[in-house]
Symmetry: C2
Subunit: 490 residues, 2 copies
């Protein structure tokens, strides 16, 4: 009956030798399902061991699934299931995910599958991309960043690779507070939450300030990706038309008399998609309305740094004495999106709510990246980089505006932004066949972003967005000439 | 009337000179609120300029808020509001955030303010921390990581600092898929979503698979931070008691006959907080139940790599032929939490839902960190690090178990885990005064984690969790001796 022997002075403890031997016998099919194990008393005697040693080994064999025992009966060999490797896995599975996931999940999945091509990008070399809002990666200050990262890892790697503060790395919050001073915004580091880009800030704000059935006031058109989240959360839109100097404040005021949105979302500078800047007078009027009706303003300053022409108009937040403005900023459109750094600046109590939800939804952000970027600020690299980027994009925007003026057919109207990367074009007549439009554009070697992405309600198909974010002057000129050709063809 | 002159061949365009001059006059109080601007025709004539140049300057002055005009009347100087700097800012603000934020936000804020001390940590040198589950940062393979990061930035910095794939950097997903093979799990890179640690994975799963009023089945006690999120989302608990070999499957089965939870959340290996391992037979039984009742299992394998004693029991996911298991993994408890890398491995369709919501809630994760970590895997550093960490923590756990056996009062019962970092201790009698307990612990120079964090319903105050995650052998021995002293004092 005893099928193996035990080495008493071996490195491997005796009870583990018993386990290993039984596993070998079972896996080698010497012992098979249903076979009885020797009684522990008997085995112990035969091997010259204490019964408790055998008992311990048997308990582990049960835990490992090689054995089972019924009360009052022998322990027997148990059949372990096969691993679910590729050949055994049912590709379809047995769960119906579209039933298990809540309906909003289905909506957002559809959007994801539609949007995905944006990130796989149309990289055919011959196509000029006037649709992407990704900052030109040829301008990345890579070496400076690499030096900062290296320095941070050498000097404080142990610290910054741990969990950090949920609110974000304090030195970076201090750098951001200092930078915001340049734009007239006075906030302390405790009034700033670092987020994974602006998009996370928008998600946090929507999560906490709205519930299904809420409405928020938005410019129409507006940032495409807030619209997807609004649909996901079941949040409706109070759509405020954009005029040449920003949203129609009178219309907003009339709407507010009857209905209170959870917040007002605005992109005052070089608005996405239109490139329009909200005038100073309207900024003041909007702030007054928000105070009067006690409605928070969510001010998206995603391209605050990218002013090229005219004197700077300061953010609404700079005048926010009564703390109704949540100001969003980000590095994603002027530096590296890959570091995932954005922020919210708002009243401390509001920041605490946002931080709390962020903390329980992912614990902390990436302290190591936040530390490298705060070094990047401290070394003065950020300032240098922004000055260079402004200089280059001023020229690029000039080229764009000049090329449009010279080449576009007269019946196409385009905005003339003071900064940022985007222009908004409207056609006299709607195009009926989007597929055909895309086909003509591709044939001419150029892409733009279709206007319908930017509207909450359906709209006449007569708009598109041009972005110069990832192109140099030659590419902009050539791209816009191609686009004008395509437009004439239509 | 003309208060300034213009340099026609200056670098600054003429219209901007006009603007700057007016702003100087207004800010210097030479011109004041209500003062009229000269008619554009008149000013143009005086300065010898084209009228359209003056018109353009005037339009910009209006946009900047220095002027206003009523139809059919002169343009006049407008009062601009002061900036909201520190001395003008109303500290209290006018918004009542606790009314504007939805009630669940208040609950989570309370938890945040309570939990926060965990991250500020009790760093008084004299206190030995037996409460933290943070991996010992003295074991960080810092130089290897720094080399990987540097290499990635040199070779592909431009690429990895851009937005990446929402699902996570493909080479890292491939590394993880390969690593999971070691644990018997066969999944492809398309069945993996990289998350910001396990906590984000848990948040995504809760967001998509539950709604207010849902229930999920959890072990009791369980991971403290899923409980906070459950309360936030209004999700109830089907609490399944833990036995020495894992959750009480018979009880679970009885409950499932009457009620269907949204999913079953389990930590089969070295469970947090108890250190208990779910036996193989129970893993199979649990999987069978999930298949029978069509309920997803969320298997949290957060310390899969940290097995020290006995033969490995493979994850439930390794047997998951019918694709009902969502497997969660993370680097946070065995390497650097600061890189924020965790993952979900599940059926592709399920991954698409999770990815979609992640994508719209923050666009992408940090590709640059994901790339550095995938280099870290490829260089073999991860494997080396894990082997070393296992070796060290095997000894540390042995020290802990030995010290407990030798020093703890008999009436305190502690689990004896096969891996991980935590032990669960129960007292014979509940302590009634938590403050006094903490006081006695601190006086003895040691902290543990109070048991109540880990229960969904209130519980008798007779448990606490010991964690050795951040301590070496000497510290563990000394800490446990201090703890035993405190226990005797009680």
């Amino acid at each position: 009956m005893v099928l193996f022997s035990i080495k008493k002075n071996d490195q491997i403890p005796v009870y583990q030798q018993i386990i290993q031997n039984f596993i070998r016998l079972i896996e080698g099919k010497t012992l098979n399902k249903g076979d009885k194990f020797p009684a522990s008393r008997v085995l112990a005697k035969k091997l010259g061991l204490n019964r408790s040693t055998v008992y311990r080994a048997y308990q582990e064999l049960i835990a490992l699934g090689y054995a089972e025992s019924m009360p009052g009966s022998y322990m027997t060999v148990r059949e372990r299931p096969e691993l679910a490797d590729e050949k055994h896995k049912s590709k379809k599975g047995i769960l119906l995910w579209d039933k298990l996931v809540k309906p909003e999940g289905g909506k957002i999945k559809t959007c994801y599958l539609q949007f995905r091509p944006e990130y796989s990008k149309n990289n055919a070399n011959s196509i000029i991309n006037l649709s992407s809002l990704d900052f030109d990666h040829r301008l990345y200050p890579l070496n400076q960043f690499r030096r900062c990262m290296n320095q941070v890892l050498v000097n404080e790697g142990e610290k910054v690779l741990q969990y950090g503060e949920a609110q974000g790395y304090l030195p970076l919050r201090e750098c951001i507070a200092q930078r915001l001073q340049l734009h007239g915004i006075s906030v302390g580091a405790d009034e700033i939450l670092i987020t994974n880009g602006s998009q996370q800030a928008i998600n946090l704000v929507l999560s906490l300030l709205t519930k299904a059935g809420s409405k928020i006031a938005i410019e129409s058109p507006t940032y495409a990706q807030i619209l997807v989240l609004m649909r996901y959360y079941g949040v409706g839109a109070m759509e405020i038309l954009l005029q040449d100097d920003g949203m129609d404040i009178h219309y907003l005021e009339n709407r507010l008399k009857n209905e209170k949105p959870a917040f007002i979302y605005t992109i005052p500078n070089f608005q996405n998609p239109t490139g329009i800047t909200l005038s100073q007078a309207k900024r003041e009027a909007l702030l007054n309305l928000a105070e009067k009706y006690q409605i928070p303003i969510v001010e998206d300053g995603f391209e605050e740094e990218m002013k090229y022409f005219g004197k700077a108009i300061l953010p609404i937040k700079s005048m926010d004495k009564n703390q109704v403005v949540l100001y969003l900023g980000t590095l994603s459109k002027v530096l590296f999106p890959g570091v995932r750094i954005g922020w919210v600046a708002a009243q401390k109590e509001c920041i605490e709510y946002l931080t709390a939800f962020k903390r329980f939804s992912e614990l902390t952000g990436s302290t190591v990246l936040q530390a490298a970027i705060s070094e990047f600020f401290k070394q003065g690299y950020y300032d240098l980089h922004i000055k260079r980027a402004q200089r280059m994009f001023r020229k690029r925007m000039q080229t764009a505006l000049k090329t449009i003026k010279e080449h576009f057919p007269e019946e196409v109207h385009c905005t003339r932004p003071d900064g940022g990367y985007t222009m908004w074009c409207s056609l006299k007549k709607p195009y009926h066949d989007e597929k055909r439009l895309q086909e003509i554009l591709l044939r001419n070697g150029v892409t733009v972003s279709p206007g319908e992405y930017y509207f909450h309600s359906s709209n006449p198909r007569k708009y598109f967005r041009i972005s110069i974010a990832c192109l140099n002057e030659e590419e902009i000129e050539e791209g816009l000439i191609r686009l004008s050709r395509a437009l004439k063809e239509m």
